[in-house]
């Protein structure tokens, strides 16, 4: 069931089109992530859904009710949509108890019971209730912000980069906690982030945004392994993009003959491999397997992995690509290697532009 529908949304700030025709359907109880580089318009999109800004064109329909179009809009305080902002946005002049109870309209005892329940839900100690926001760590502040938004039992929760201000370790833990709480409550969620890993880990549906438009919308697996173009591929993770001659589901590429995921296409095209499909072994090592031959042109040790640049064939000026490989083999620049490929390559139908790694 479609719960939230955005139709041809446009928003202009001066001469800049922050949103340039956005269409999106979100089903009830699902988690959607909107991912894109900073300045792509994703926060603007969230502000329109929250009701903080009005669209210039297009419509927002939520649970069968039109929230906004170019002429009229339902004000933010009547939408029943919760939001957790990047830095939590707690009211600095109120205690944690007052922050969480801010939007609650109930008598004191019922309110306190609900606040205690919410604190428990987001995994915070009730002893913190009397503190002020600046006495809490960043992760705790985010949990309070979530509890405050949950207090009103919103049907839709908007998360505006809520984890980006946190340390790496805390980030994963907070994300897990938030996901669990939202799933348990069955709340439809829209997450905005510039972190592709976060988007892929969090969502059922990922929308990749670029310059005010959605480049691709699909399941995390789909957008990761079958991106529409090289730019989308590169944004979602490392990608090796190769030129190839394609026929009958097979591509003749600098890495040899590879199976592709499009059997109908015939002609010149670009194909993409994810680094986890590629293995690199020193040439001549037993069990090294079949594959194209290459040379380590450059290698930088980075702990568990090493960043290498491999040139194919004997020509140092020839085709080359970069890759992170496990550091277990002590390769050095100049070593000859065999490059193995597992699985099928993804074929870009439209001629995408060359990425830096190709």
């Amino acid at each position: 069931m479609t719960f939230l529908t955005l139709t041809s949304l446009r928003k202009q700030y001066g001469s800049v089109a922050a949103l340039d025709g956005i269409d999106l359907s979100v089903t009830a109880g699902s988690r959607t992530a909107i991912v894109g580089p900073s300045g792509c318009g994703k926060t603007t999109l969230l502000r329109l859904v929250a009701g903080f800004d009005a669209p210039d064109e297009g419509r927002i329909v939520f649970a069968g009710l039109q929230l906004a179009d170019a002429r009229s809009q339902v004000p933010a305080h009547k939408r029943g949509i919760g939001i957790v902002a990047q830095d939590g946005c707690l009211f600095p002049h109120l205690t944690i108890r007052q922050n969480i109870g801010f939007g609650l309209e109930a008598e004191a005892s019922a309110k306190n019971a609900r606040i205690a329940q919410l604190m428990d839900m987001v995994g915070l100690d009730a002893a913190m209730l009397a503190r002020k926001p600046d006495q809490l760590s960043g992760g705790q502040q985010q949990r309070v912000a979530l509890a405050r938004a949950l207090a009103r039992k919103p049907r839709l929760m908007l998360l505006d980069e809520p984890f980006s201000a946190l340390d790496t370790g805390l980030r994963a833990a907070t994300r897990k906690a938030v996901t669990d709480v939202l799933t348990a409550a069955g709340i439809t969620t829209l997450l905005v982030t510039h972190d592709q890993g976060e988007a892929l880990a969090f969502a059922d549906q990922v929308a990749v945004m670029r310059a005010g438009k959605f480049a691709q919308v699909g399941s995390p697996r789909e957008v990761y392994s079958r991106p529409v173009d090289a730019a989308t591929a590169a944004f979602l993770g490392e990608a090796i993009v190769l030129p190839a001659d394609v026929a009958d589901g097979r591509a003749d590429s600098p890495l040899g003959i590879l199976p592709v995921d499009d059997v109908a296409y015939r002609g010149k095209a670009q194909i993409m491999l994810r680094p986890e499909q590629v293995t690199v072994t020193r040439h001549g090592v037993q069990g090294g397997g079949e594959g194209a031959r290459g040379t380590i042109a450059e290698i930088n040790f980075c702990g568990p992995t090493s960043d290498v640049r491999i040139t194919l064939g004997g020509d140092p000026q020839g085709f080359s690509f970069r890759l992170d490989i496990p550091s277990r083999e002590t390769l050095v620049a100049g070593d000859r290697v065999t490059i193995g490929v597992a699985g099928t390559a993804h074929l870009f139908r439209q001629p995408g532009f060359q990425t830096a790694s190709s």
């Binding site: 305080h77 830095d87 946005c89 009211f91 002049h93 939007g103 009103r152």
Partner: protein, 522 residues
């Protein structure tokens, strides 16, 4: 032992306070002691008066009347100023009021008109207007900018994300204003209200002209007519206690909570409210305020200037008064700023509990009304150091006590902008600590020092109470001449002096307005 010169340098224990710091601290302590002299004097006077005598002088109907007047004045004026200040600040900062920037300037400009000139302007129009209603009305127009300035800066600094957040939690716009915006204005409200309260307690000319008795006017009457020392001291004691009550109230209401936004990065620009059809109704508020706060002084001064013609601009009198005023302002401003240098440097470079305590002493001393400062210095010099009575040194000391915080604020801000590394670099290039300070920080902080001199000089220019009591014989500043002429009902003759004071004060208001914009990064 193989201790060479080199190793001795590296292993020598770091002194807790370098020589430069200890000297600076000594000077700062001496200045603080001098600044606390008036307060100490009043307390000493109370102590030596004797319990019975003191009670007799304090618990009498005259003091009761003055207290009632003072309380009514404060209780009526401050809330009106607060409501007016919030409304004007919201209109000029957060709404699409036509000409918001222009109105914002007009809301600050009344500060350029000395309070007693406001009073003069009002009774020029309505000679029968006096007592409490006049006191409240004139105080509101003279002092509301003290609330408008911090409130408008606070409105600019509010993080609009908090208001969005409150809306998403189901609050209608007015509830958002009441529960999120207003509480965050508390610091600005408290600070501005305190400033207005202290001015109400200290002001003489405004209230004397409309025959409204406050402690300050009563002390001056006593001083000028009968020179009844003990009675004046006891009135001063009650006045000082009133100041303490205000300071305590403000400290209690302000609280200790942190109000800065918690997030990182830069806040989004505040949303501008659309007034729509209310636009023209809203325009009435700044327009009417400006009419009373600026229109009336302009009208009255214009009328008297036209009536007086060219004759009132007697170069021998007006020119001499202007010259004397400028000299005394310059000396006072330089002395005040110089006195502020040690504590400004300490509070930025060596902040310790001691430096914070000293700073508190300066603020406390400057919150004493001019009449108390002057009364104390008159009595001390007459009794103990007669050659200093009515000397330039004594009046300059009074100005230092009263205006030091003005210089301190500018000076400290500009010293804080000079990275300490520059001072250290100079030291590493072989300059002695004092020399390094002089060559780097002091040089780079010069604009702040200039602003400090300007702010304190302009305060001195419009000061009437202490100046009247302490000015050396033969001195006639603009304020004194203005006051003497209005006392003789020569309103036309007084007009040029008022015009000159306003003209010199205008840059001050521009400076204040500019600073408040700069705080908000605009």
């Amino acid at each position: 032992m193989t201790s060479t010169t080199e190793t001795r340098i590296t292993i020598a224990p770091r002194p807790r306070l370098p020589a430069a710091s200890s000297w600076t601290l000594t000077i700062a302590v001496v200045v603080a002691l001098l600044a606390l002299l008036p307060l100490g004097f009043v307390l000493w006077a109370a102590a030596v008066t004797g319990w019975d005598m003191a009670l007799q002088l304090i618990f009498r109907s005259r003091v009761g009347d003055l207290l009632a007047n003072t309380i009514l004045l404060v209780v009526l004026t401050i809330p009106i100023c607060a409501v007016l200040g919030v409304a004007l600040a919201w209109l000029t900062e957060r709404s699409d009021l036509p000409g918001a920037r222009f109105w914002s300037w007009l809301c600050v400009t009344p500060l350029a008109v000395p309070a007693f000139v406001h009073s003069y302007a009002w009774i020029g129009l309505w000679p029968g207007f006096n007592g409490l209603p006049a006191g409240v009305a004139i105080s509101v127009v003279a002092y509301f900018p003290f609330l408008y300035l911090p409130l408008s800066a606070a409105f600019r600094l509010l993080d609009p994300a908090l208001e969005d957040q409150a809306a998403s939690l189901g609050l209608a716009p007015f509830a958002v204003f009441r529960r999120v915006v207003l509480p965050q204005l508390r610091l600005a409200l408290c600070g501005g209200a305190l400033l207005i309260g202290l001015h109400l307690l200290a002001e003489y000319g405004l209230f004397a002209m409309i025959r409204f008795d406050t402690f300050t006017t009563a002390i001056l009457d006593q001083f000028q007519s009968t020179y009844n020392g003990v009675a004046a001291y006891m009135l001063a004691l009650v006045l000082v206690l009133c100041c303490f009550v205000l300071l305590g109230l403000e400290a209690g209401l302000r609280g200790r909570s942190r109000y800065a936004r918690l997030g990182s990065g830069v806040a989004r620009r505040p949303k501008i409210a659309r007034l729509g059809k209310w636009k023209y109704v809203a325009l009435l508020l700044p327009a009417v305020t400006a009419a009373f706060a600026l229109g009336i002084p302009v009208l009255t001064l214009g009328r008297w200037l036209i009536a007086g013609g060219a004759e009132v601009w007697r170069i021998d009198e007006v020119g001499v008064a202007l010259g004397q005023t400028l000299v005394i302002c310059l000396i006072g401003g330089l002395a005040t700023t110089a006195a502020a240098v040690p504590i400004a440097w300490l509070s930025v470079r060596r902040p310790t509990p001691a430096s914070r305590f000293l700073e508190g002493c300066y603020y406390l001393a400057s919150s004493m009304p001019g009449v108390v400062v002057a009364l104390a210095l008159v009595t001390i010099t007459v009794r103990a150091m007669l050659p200093l009575y009515q000397s330039v040194a004594t009046i300059v000391l009074a100005y230092v006590v009263m205006f030091l915080p003005r210089a301190l604020v500018s000076l400290r801000a500009s010293i804080a902008q000079v990275p300490v590394e520059i001072e250290q670099a100079a030291a590493s290039l072989g300059r002695s600590p004092g020399n390094a300070l002089l060559a780097t920080t002091i040089r780079l902080a010069a604009p702040g020092a200039a602003a400090g001199v300007a702010l304190s000089s302009l305060g001195i220019m419009n000061e009437l109470t202490a100046t009247q009591m302490l000015a050396p014989n033969g001195t006639r500043t603009l304020a004194m001449a203005f006051w003497a002429l209005t006392g003789e009902i020569d309103y036309a003759g007084a007009a040029p002096y008022a015009v000159l004071m306003v003209a010199f004060s205008l840059p001050l208001t521009f400076l204040l307005h500019h600073q408040s914009k700069k705080i908000a990064g605009r």
